[in-house]
Symmetry: C2
């Protein structure tokens, strides 16, 4: 009988957060690449760009002027994907398969720093702590607004990820509905908590088991040698999940206790969060010596608890366990990406190296940014 | 009370094939685009390229020589994502969340035509009929092999869709497992057929209702004025589905009777299929006067019936209704695409114009290819 070898034999893995599979085809990176290459990024950005609509003091498309901000700043997107309430009520469906659900909410832009030329990878840790504070305060503010059911914090970084401005910034879309993917993740976390007997890992509300606590406990204790863990500190671990789709996908999450959202973090956990965010983004830039493109998103409790809720441990909404997904497209070099097209769009995601191989590559990189490295 | 207007008010629609939502934000195309633009495509391709590994008579990466084919040709991908059986059996899972499912199968490449410089949009209809015959025969051959549970026929067209060679070609990946997306679609078709009382539309096996027959019957009869239908002939309709994600997404399907797969097509239905494929791809090219990039996939019965199965009408596998998805990324012009990133990857797909607006644009285009149009 043939012995299974994950680096030789194509196989599928399941993402328990979504129920979806990924097809792992470890030999595909050997094929020659004659396809599209990404244009080199603009090097030597200025510290301030008079034409940038995110730089301090500049005027935006809508005519408003940015604050002369010194750390972070937040404003409403001039081209928001959702609009504030009140909205219309649902129109009658012309057929049961054709229903319409009106959505309200708001879209915020958050500038991470006044400097036009820096990214998370090049910001000092205290500046990243300020970004985390800003995320917490938008999450509290938007999540506390009437009718808002979900707050999605994310960052698109790099032109190949649809980002139209290199000035370091992220977005926050707050909606009157829970979007498909987090709704699926929450349903699977809920299902797991009700069906799986608690292990020695940290636990969710009502003493029930937590899928992500169980998973991450396994990864940091038992499986660390197998090597999906990239980085770890006192409170957080960054790993290439067993079910990763993107070549160098990372999941970042706290592993010492069950934490439903960023407003549940202690000051020490926040500092450790800023530190590991800095370390992840530095390694990403070091992988191909470029400003590494990705989409990043924070998954957590749909909205923060209000002060008058029942005790944390009784609150079923706390079934969420805070985690971040990084989805970076580059595969082979600064200019050759993975395309999730054809088979991936029509059948299921397919990856060309194993998550363990990706984690090893990331783990072995220096932790000093290549632009700051001594000659 | 505010009256709901789909071209003004952000809203969500559900895809009944997947259960997923799309967020429709009709005002977003107004925002200025300063982001990545796609490089212009190579114009004036030669009819034969001595360096192309798909042109007749040339040598491929693996050293094999292509036939001097005159219509279509098929060969196994030199860098297949899955390998033929026998494969290893599943290894023990180190944790219940970390299971591995070995997958076997085969990956075929199908060259659509000897001419290096043509695409579906520029091929005569009889040549497209030959491609349909080739799809049918691969589907029969691969789908009849031991252990094959699913055959996915698809085409990646254009560099921005990860296609590495402009020579007109598609792929067929055959697997020992049903991939996530078709599995979900089949489950939803099955669920609908068991739970929805039959309407006047064509019906699936056992006289049960068919989700796609019901949907398409509504679109071609009742709702045609609302305008999601792009093109229609005696047997087929091409429409921008109610739940479209990609800006100019199209679903192509037969609407006169329930048809589980391409091997169930009559000769007339095949000719009509070739005709409408030609017309769709011509309109796509005409939209922005360029060779329009897309991923296309055929969804149907996972594998064809064997001759010794029960009567068609008794076969539950025939719950599938043949349909094709076209996922094209361009949004505003030949060089500005939609990026499904950030919010889309972390929360749910979002689109910038309504499906009805997209269908109107496509419907209003000339049906003669812009390169063949009289001056
Ligand atoms: O097999 P190809 O054409 O080289 O590769 C292309 O299609 C595959 C199947 O959709 C994708 O996995 C690849 O990312 C893409 O570049
Ligand atoms: O809002 P932006 O940065 O202009 O736009 C970018 O992010 C959005 C949210 O992920 C996407 O919908 C857009 O396709 C992308 O270009």
């Amino acid at each position: 009988e043939i012995q299974f070898d994950p680096t030789t034999h194509p196989h599928r893995r399941v993402n328990p957060l979504t129920g979806e599979h990924v097809l792992v085809s470890p030999h595909r990176t050997k094929r020659p690449w004659l396809g599209q290459t990404e244009p080199p990024q603009q090097a030597n950005l200025p510290e301030y760009d008079p034409k940038c609509y995110l730089c301090p003091g500049n005027t935006r498309a809508g005519g408003q002027q940015n604050e002369k901000y010194e750390h972070t700043t937040v404003f409403e997107n001039d081209y928001a994907a959702v609009l504030p309430p009140p909205g219309p009520s649902a129109p009658p469906a012309p057929h049961p398969l054709l229903t319409t659900e009106p959505v309200q909410g708001g879209c915020d832009v958050i500038c991470f720093h006044p400097r036009h030329d820096l990214t998370l990878a090049r910001l000092p840790v205290p500046d990243i702590e300020r970004i985390i504070e800003e995320w917490s305060s938008i999450y509290r503010k938007r999540g506390g607004q009437d009718g808002i059911k979900y707050v999605q914090i994310f960052e698109n970084k790099g032109a190949m990820m649809g980002c139209s401005n290199p000035h370091p910034h992220g977005q926050v879309w707050s909606l009157s509905a829970v979007p498909s993917l987090p709704a699926t993740e929450l349903a699977n976390l809920q299902k797991y908590s009700l069906s799986t007997p608690p292990s020695a890992a940290p636990r969710g509300p009502l003493g029930r088991s937590c899928l992500l606590c169980d998973y991450v406990t396994f990864e940091v204790s038992v499986a660390q040698a197998e090597g999906r863990v990239v980085l770890k500190n006192e409170h957080w671990v960054a790993l290439v999940p067993w079910w990763a789709v993107w070549p160098f996908e990372i999941m970042l999450l706290p592993y010492k206790r069950h934490i439903p959202s960023i407003v549940h973090l202690t000051p020490e956990e926040k500092t450790a969060f800023a530190q590991i965010l800095s370390q992840i983004t530095i390694r990403y830039d070091n992988l191909f010596s470029c400003s590494f493109a990705y989409s990043m998103g924070i998954h957590q409790r749909p909205v923060p608890p209000t002060t008058d809720v029942v005790a944390d441990d009784q609150d079923e909404e706390n079934v969420a366990h805070l985690h971040l997904h990084f989805a970076p497209p580059l595969l082979r070099s600064a200019s050759v990406r993975k395309f999730l097209v054809g088979f991936e769009l029509m059948a299921e995601p397919q990856r060309d190296l194993t998550p363990e191989q990706a984690a090893t590559r990331l783990r072995d990189l220096p932790d000093v940014h290549y632009l700051n490295a001594p000659e």
